[in-house]
C-alpha cells in the first residue's frame, strides 16, 4: 500500500466513523482528537474500520502513536500486506 492509498483508506474510515466531521479540510498533522473532536470510542471504531478494510490490526499499545492523519498513513504503509 502506497502513501496515497493509505491516506485515502484512513480518510474513508474516519468519515465512516464520524460522518459529520469535516475530513475534507483535515491537515496531515492536525490532531484528530482536537480538530475533529474524536474521542476514545471514535478511535476504537476507526481502528476497527481499518482492520475490516485492509486487515491491519493495530494493537492497543500503538494507539498512543496515532494522533494525526499522517501517523495513521505511515502506520498503514509500514504494516499493510499489499
Amino acid at each position: 500500500m502506497n502513501d496515497t492509498q493509505a491516506r485515502a483508506t484512513v480518510l474513508d474510515c474516519i468519515s465512516a466513523v464520524a460522518p459529520d466531521a469535516p475530513v475534507d479540510d483535515l491537515g496531515g498533522s492536525d490532531e484528530l482528537s482536537v480538530v475533529l473532536e474524536i474521542d476514545s470510542m471514535d478511535l476504537l471504531n476507526i481502528v476497527v474500520a481499518i482492520h475490516d478494510r485492509c486487515g491491519v490490526d493495530i494493537p492497543e499499545r500503538d494507539y498512543g502513536k496515532l494522533a494525526t492523519l499522517d501517523d495513521f498513513t505511515a502506520y498503514l504503509v509500514t504494516h499493510a500486506a499489499v
Binding site: 459529520d20 466531521a21 480538530v35 474521542d39 476504537l44 481499518i50 492497543e60 499499545r61
Partner: protein, 430 residues
C-alpha cells in the same frame, strides 16, 4: 471608588418579601465584604443578611420593622472599592440561594428610556440584568456593570479548537455565539456557516429542540429532586491491567474500553442496591426489577441523550461493550429506540478520557440516582505507607434524598469500587 445601593436579595427562588428585624450597622459605619449587616425575617425563617461590597454606610433607607419587596434598596454605601472586582470574584460564600438572588423574581423592571437605549446600544439583554434600584428597577449603573461584565466575559470565549478554526474560516465572531459544550464552550456545531445565512443543518435544529427538552427536564430535576452528592476515588490498577491483557488478545472489534468496565460495575452495584434502581413516583420509590442502564451520550451537534442498555446487570462486559458501541453510533445518527429512551432505571455519565476529574451529575427524573465518572488518570496514592502512582477514577453519586441517604449511597459507591477490583469477574453473569 463608587456608590452602591444595597438591595434586598431573593434568598431562594420563592422569596418575595422580607421584614427588617434589626440593623447591625448604622450610618457612618464601615463594612467589609461578607459582613452581616441586618437580620431579616422571611416566610421561612430569620436570616442573617450579608453584604457583598465593602464601603461606608451613608444612609439606611428602611427602618427595622418595615416590610419590603425583594430588590428594594435597604441602604446606600459610598467609597465602595472595585465594584466589578467584587462581582467577578463572587465565588466563595455564594451558595445557590445567593446565585438566584442575583436574578430578579419576575423579569427586569425598566422605566427609564435612557437605560433602555443604553442597553440596546451595548447589546445588553435587560432580562438578564439584576436591578439594584427601588423595587428591582434597572438603573443606568446596572447597565454599566452588566456591560463591563459582558466585555470581561467576551475576552475569554470558551471554544474548541475546531470551532475556532471554523469560525475563523467562516468569518463568524465567536463572542456572539451560544456554546452548547461544557461550561458553555462553543463547539464546531455551534458555528453557523456564515453570518449572512445562518445555514442551520438538520442536526443543529435537532440539537436545539433536544436542548429545550433537556432544559425542561433538568430544571424539573433541580426543582423537585433534593440531590445529595458523594464522591469516591477508585484505584483502577487491577481493571486497567486486566483490560490491557484482554485487549492484547482480541481483534479490534472485540476490544473493551475502560468505560465498559465502569458501566458493568455500576449495573452490578445497582442490582445489589435496588433502592438506587427505579423511579420516584408521586410520594414513593418504585424499585425496578431490572437494571436498564442509561448512558449519557454527547452528540457532535451539541445535544445530549441518555438512552439505556437494557438488562445491563445480566450482560457480560464484552456484550455491554458491543451494545455501547452500537448505542453510541445510533445515538449520534439519531436512530434510537423508544424502549431505550423511556426505560433507563439509573443513568451513568462518563465524560471520557479528555473529560474533567469528576462530575456531579443531575438526576434524570423520575430516576433516583446518577453515577458519574471522571477521567482515569495517574495519581499519587498511599499504599502500605508509601506514595505510589496509580491509575484512579473518581466515581460520584448524585442521589435523590427522598429515596435514599448518604449512608446507602456510600455502600453503593463501595460496591462499584469492590467490583472494579476483580475485573475478571465482569465477564461472568453475577
Amino acid at each position: 471608588m463608587a456608590d452602591y445601593d444595597f438591595t434586598l436579595p431573593a434568598l431562594g427562588a420563592d422569596m418575595e418579601r422580607a421584614t427588617i428585624i434589626e440593623w447591625r450597622v448604622a450610618s457612618g459605619d464601615h463594612v467589609e465584604r461578607g459582613d452581616i449587616v441586618a437580620i431579616i425575617d422571611t416566610e421561612k425563617s430569620e436570616i442573617e443578611l450579608e453584604i457583598w461590597h465593602g464601603g461606608t454606610v451613608r444612609e439606611i433607607l428602611v427602618d427595622a420593622g418595615e416590610e419590603v419587596p425583594v430588590g428594594a434598596v435597604l441602604a446606600r454605601l459610598t467609597g465602595v472599592d472595585d465594584l466589578l472586582g467584587a462581582l467577578a470574584s463572587s465565588a466563595p460564600s455564594r451558595g445557590p440561594a445567593e446565585a438566584s438572588a442575583r436574578r430578579p423574581p419576575r423579569g427586569a423592571i425598566v422605566r427609564s428610556p435612557l437605560v433602555r437605549h443604553l442597553a440596546e446600544e451595548r447589546g445588553i439583554d435587560l432580562e438578564a440584568v439584576q436591578g439594584t434600584g427601588p423595587g428591582g428597577l434597572v438603573t443606568r449603573r446596572d447597565v454599566d456593570v452588566a456591560s463591563a461584565e459582558q466585555q470581561r466575559r467576551a475576552a475569554v470565549v470558551l471554544a474548541s479548537p475546531r470551532a475556532r478554526r471554523l469560525a475563523d474560516e467562516r468569518g463568524v465572531a465567536l463572542a456572539g455565539l451560544t456554546g452548547t459544550g461544557p461550561a458553555g464552550a462553543i463547539l464546531a456545531a455551534d458555528v453557523p456557516r456564515s453570518t449572512s445565512s445562518p445555514g442551520r443543518t438538520p442536526a443543529m435544529v435537532r440539537a436545539d429542540s433536544m436542548r429545550r427538552t433537556l432544559a425542561a427536564l433538568m430544571a424539573r430535576s433541580k426543582r423537585e429532586i433534593p440531590h445529595y452528592y458523594l464522591a469516591q476515588e477508585i484505584d483502577m490498577s487491577a481493571a486497567m491491567e486486566w483490560l490491557g491483557g484482554t485487549n492484547a488478545e482480541r481483534p479490534p472489534a472485540e476490544r473493551l474500553l475502560p468505560v465498559a468496565l465502569l458501566l458493568k460495575a455500576t449495573a452490578t452495584a445497582a442490582a445489589r442496591h435496588r433502592e438506587f434502581n427505579g423511579f420516584w413516583i408521586e410520594d414513593h420509590l418504585e424499585v425496578s426489577e431490572k437494571v436498564h442502564l442509561g448512558v449519557a451520550v454527547a452528540l457532535r451537534s451539541g445535544g445530549l441523550v441518555a438512552p439505556a442498555i437494557l438488562d445491563a446487570e445480566d450482560k457480560p462486559v464484552t456484550v455491554l461493550m458491543s451494545e455501547l458501541r452500537d448505542l453510541v453510533a445510533r445515538a449520534r445518527a439519531g436512530r434510537l429506540r423508544g424502549a431505550e429512551m423511556s426505560s433507563p432505571t439509573i443513568t451513568v455519565t462518563s465524560l471520557g478520557d479528555r473529560g474533567p476529574d469528576l462530575v456531579h451529575g443531575v438526576i434524570y427524573p423520575p430516576q433516583v440516582a446518577l453515577v458519574g465518572f471522571g477521567r482515569i488518570i495517574a495519581r499519587p496514592m498511599v499504599l502500605d505507607g508509601a506514595v505510589v502512582a496509580r491509575p484512579v477514577v473518581t466515581a460520584t453519586l448524585a442521589g435523590d434524598h427522598r429515596a435514599t441517604d448518604g449512608d446507602r449511597g456510600a455502600r453503593m459507591l463501595a460496591t462499584i469500587d469492590r467490583v472494579l477490583q476483580s475485573p475478571e469477574d465482569l465477564e461472568d453473569r453475577p
